[in-house]
Symmetry: C2
Subunit: 145 residues, 2 copies
């Protein structure tokens, strides 16, 4: 069974907060970690139900919130307004194809410096950010007339 580290992190978080370690929570975390990134709640629900048809929507929603709290997942709202979850990992930003929906991640430290300068100018204390570039991916450019 994979994802030892995450399972341990979940257990630690649950214990620390006097919450219970249930089959469902572990299961949803597993499915989430195994799946490709940027899942909607619906995606997760469907995947979970394949093996465990008795799990409800409610539990998926509640568990994803919990995983975000525990620092194991992050929530994203891209421009279509649908909530997506992603595995928490090193910070990065996104290139989103508005034709096929593909999401490409990228990292860029140079931008982070610039952000700090902007924040200072307005007196903000930055805690996090989003930086998303929308356009056409290479494949979709090919299929353009």
């Amino acid at each position: 069974m994979a994802h030892e580290a995450e399972l341990k992190a979940l257990a630690a978080y649950l214990e620390k907060n006097h919450l219970k370690h249930t089959k469902q929570r572990e299961l949803i975390l597993q499915v989430f970690l195994e799946a490709k990134r940027h899942l909607t709640s619906e995606d997760l629900y469907q995947s979970v139900r394949q093996d465990h048809p008795n799990v409800g929507y409610t539990t998926v929603y509640r568990t994803m919130k919990l995983l975000v709290e525990a620092g194991l997942a992050t929530e994203h709202h891209f421009d279509d307004g649908i909530t997506r979850y992603e595995i928490e990992q090193r910070h990065h930003d996104h290139l989103v194809c508005i034709k096929c929906g593909k999401i490409q991640e990228f990292e860029c430290e140079m931008i982070e410096d610039t952000q700090n300068a902007i924040a200072k100018r307005y007196g903000f204390r930055i805690l996090r950010h989003r930086h998303e570039l929308y356009g056409h991916c290479p494949e979709c450019q090919q299929s353009e007339s």
Copy 2:
């Protein structure tokens, strides 16, 4: 009556597309332009209803989509997932206070250059982007213990 330019732009758009120039459309545009930025549909609906209690939600939603089409407004999805509209103007990005909700706009050309470099690396053609910094505004930092 203010906002001559926008009203004219609306009229031109309507005519070009064989759509009708109605009281409601003009009214909603007026309210939108007069209000402070980053309005939700709910905000708009409430404002419009103050003077014209007969206007329906439906019309507000439909009109805002139309204004976006016409290039008079832009749609934003910040991290709370609620759709907000903003007056279309020179491109800029946002600093969002996650305590009081204040939104500060900023512009930064340097970042744009970096974006182009990233896009080239992945072969994307960028059409638009979002860049949002989340944190605490100066006022909210003051009131921190």
